[in-house]
């Protein structure tokens, strides 16, 4: 057992130096605005040009072939440098792992390089009005036609879709099949004929997600991932990934709690808030070490990913609540901490609510009995 990071220090030094030279001196506007989205897209291009947008991908697709440890270290450097939020994360963290697991070589070669280059920004399109946490209740359809599929129906809470280029999601390709069966995983362009994108404002009014209305949208066969009808199994590999480290890397929380500590000190290091500041700082370090443990393991972490999801999402809310309490009477005012707080509130809800994650932990990690009814 060791925590020797010296083998990755050259890579770390290179990343740090590049970020020091390239991170914008003034923060970009919020990526949930049109101007901010454009600025973040340009930033993704700059990252991509340096092969730093998806360091763990093979070089052939625009990455660096970085090890998991190098990726963790990259993330630490990235957020410590105060670099911009990742507008490309839906593609890189959700879609790409699915493609690596289930995509064809043609798909990998066609989809990944422009994603790494920041040329194509992806939105996710999981939920529907009647299917939030209960994803198996999906109703939007994919109907077989010559050379491909026609999509119909409605998606919602599609993050980034207000400004993104393409989207991915599950569609019911066998209308007779129930719940997890008969679903197909598809990619489609947001500017295709028949797609209407209606941006939805988040709590602070910014269009962080959108509704998608799909009216006979044609998707060629080459944009099906995995086998038609096997969409649920294909998607679950992404879902597991999402709950693990990639959606919220330890680096984000290390940087955020360092900023919290600085904020607390600037505001007089109020002893009333000391324990909460310390707890946030400690938990971020725990999450970092847990990350090292996860990548050191040789077995599949499986349902334990739910433990990570509950932990980081609650840490994120707590640390932002603490920051707002440090700000005291100014807590309600527009600013980075408030935007971070609003963003954090989505954590316990999306990618499977924390209530569902706790059921998963209890039943699949601890082995408690399932309720003798559907779902739970």
């Amino acid at each position: 057992m060791d925590l020797d990071l010296s083998p990755v220090e050259p890579f770390q030094a290179e990343v740090r130096a590049w970020l020091r030279r390239n991170v914008p001196a003034t923060p970009l506007p919020s990526l949930e605005t049109e101007a901010g989205f454009t600025a973040h897209r340009a930033w993704e291009r700059a990252l991509g040009a340096e092969r730093l947008s998806a360091v763990s991908w093979p070089e052939a697709y625009g990455g660096r072939g970085a090890s998991p440890l190098e990726w963790l270290v990259f993330e630490e450097e990235y957020y410590a440098a105060g670099a911009p939020g990742r507008v490309s994360q839906n593609g890189i963290n959700l879609l790409a792992p699915t493609l690596f697991a289930h995509g064809t070589t043609e798909q990998l070669e066609r989809v990944l390089p422009p994603m790494a280059a920041g040329e194509v920004i992806w939105a996710q399109a999981w939920s529907e009005p009647g299917a939030g946490s209960d994803l198996a209740a999906l109703r939007a359809t994919a109907t077989r036609v010559d050379g491909g599929w026609r999509l119909n129906g409605q998606k919602t809470w599609s993050s980034r879709a207000a400004f993104a280029d393409r989207a991915f999601g599950l569609f019911r390709s066998d209308p007779a099949a129930e719940r997890h069966r008969g679903l197909t995983y598809l990619m489609f362009p947001l500017d295709a004929e028949g797609v209407t994108v209606r941006p939805i404002g988040r709590l602070d009014g910014r269009p962080a997600f959108a509704e998608l209305f799909l009216d006979d949208v044609f998707v060629p066969d080459r944009d099906v991932i995995g086998e038609p009808g096997q969409g649920w199994a294909v998607a679950m590999s992404t879902a597991g990934n999402e709950r693990g480290l990639t959606l919220r890397s330890p680096g984000r929380f290390l940087a955020a709690t360092d900023r919290l500590l600085a904020l607390w000190r600037e505001h007089g290091a109020d002893p009333l808030l000391r324990d909460r500041v310390a707890d946030a700082w400690i938990k971020a370090r725990a999450y970092r070490l847990k990350g090292f443990e996860t990548i050191s393991r040789t077995d599949d972490i499986g349902a334990e990913a739910s433990v990570n999801k509950v932990f980081w999402s609650e840490l994120d809310v707590e640390l932002h609540e603490t920051a707002l309490d440090v700000l005291g009477p100014d807590a309600e005012l527009e600013g980075d901490w408030l935007e971070g707080y609003v963003f954090s509130l989505a954590g316990p809800i999306y990618a499977g609510t924390n209530e569902i994650q706790r059921n998963v932990i209890a039943e699949r990690v601890l082995g408690l009995p399932r309720e003798r009814r559907v779902g739970g």
Binding site: W157, R202, P329, V342, E355
Partner: protein, 326 residues
Amino acid sequence: MKFVLDAEQRLFGETLHKLLTETGTPALIRRWAAGDRDRTLWTALAEAGVFTLAVPERHDGAGLLPVELVVALHELGRHAVPGPIVETLAAAVLLGEADDEALGARWLPRIAAGEAVVSLVAPAVVRRALDADAADLTLLVDGEEVWSALPEGSAVRSLDPARRLFPVVAGERLAAGPAVPRAAAAAYDLGVLACSAQLVGLGRALLDTTVVYARTRRQFGRAIGEFQAVKHHLANVLTGLEFARPLVYGAALSFGSPDFARDVSAAKVAASDAAYAAARVALQVHGAIGYTDEYDPSLWIRKVRALHSAWGTPAEHRARVLAVPR
């Protein structure tokens, strides 16, 4: 001892609830957030007597009636009514107690009648003037002096889109003297009480909305309100609100006693915590829809977070609770 509302007080609350339900506040909140400063509702609230409750009888008010004021603000909170209502009521107390009859005569009858909308800054405790662009008068109280204030620069945006907060500079001096700090303290305490009542009302509305949602929204083949986790979240919210409410009414009844400052602070702490828990649970149980600005309850959720640290932070109020020697 009879620590429940009497029939007249209940009727007053029900009347306001009916008025506000008919008004349909969500659309009004959105218009207010967009800068529409229409006063139709303000006038209707004045006709219902809301602004008389902090105005002395000699200035056309009802005298200071803290219990009725809590009843009113609870309903206004329940409907998330926007605008500087707490500020106007606190200003009425300041003007009524500042020992300047001419100043009082100039503004208080207009406040009582709903003809004057007032905002307020007291640098140590209320830093910026809420909706000063909508006000006929913005007061700045500092030490022994009261000034009329003017917005300086543009408003700061709050998480609550219906709150615009203006930095101000002093204009004309309106009053001065040793009565001012006392009047300002009374105004602050009454503002804290009013804010607490609003928070309990906001929390209650969020609980009611979330209960209805949990009864009807289905996931995994059943109403989500069947899940024990959802039940326990909502039971906790009810418990918090049920114990905040008596603190708010108890504080109203201690108006005029030496305990008033401590009691309003205790009420604010409990109301703030209970309403904030209601907002967090409302968001969690609603899921993504509660997180969108187009869904009406999100207006309540944002207002709760804003009021949580308005009129004194929870930490400041906890300090006031323990500061009283005993």
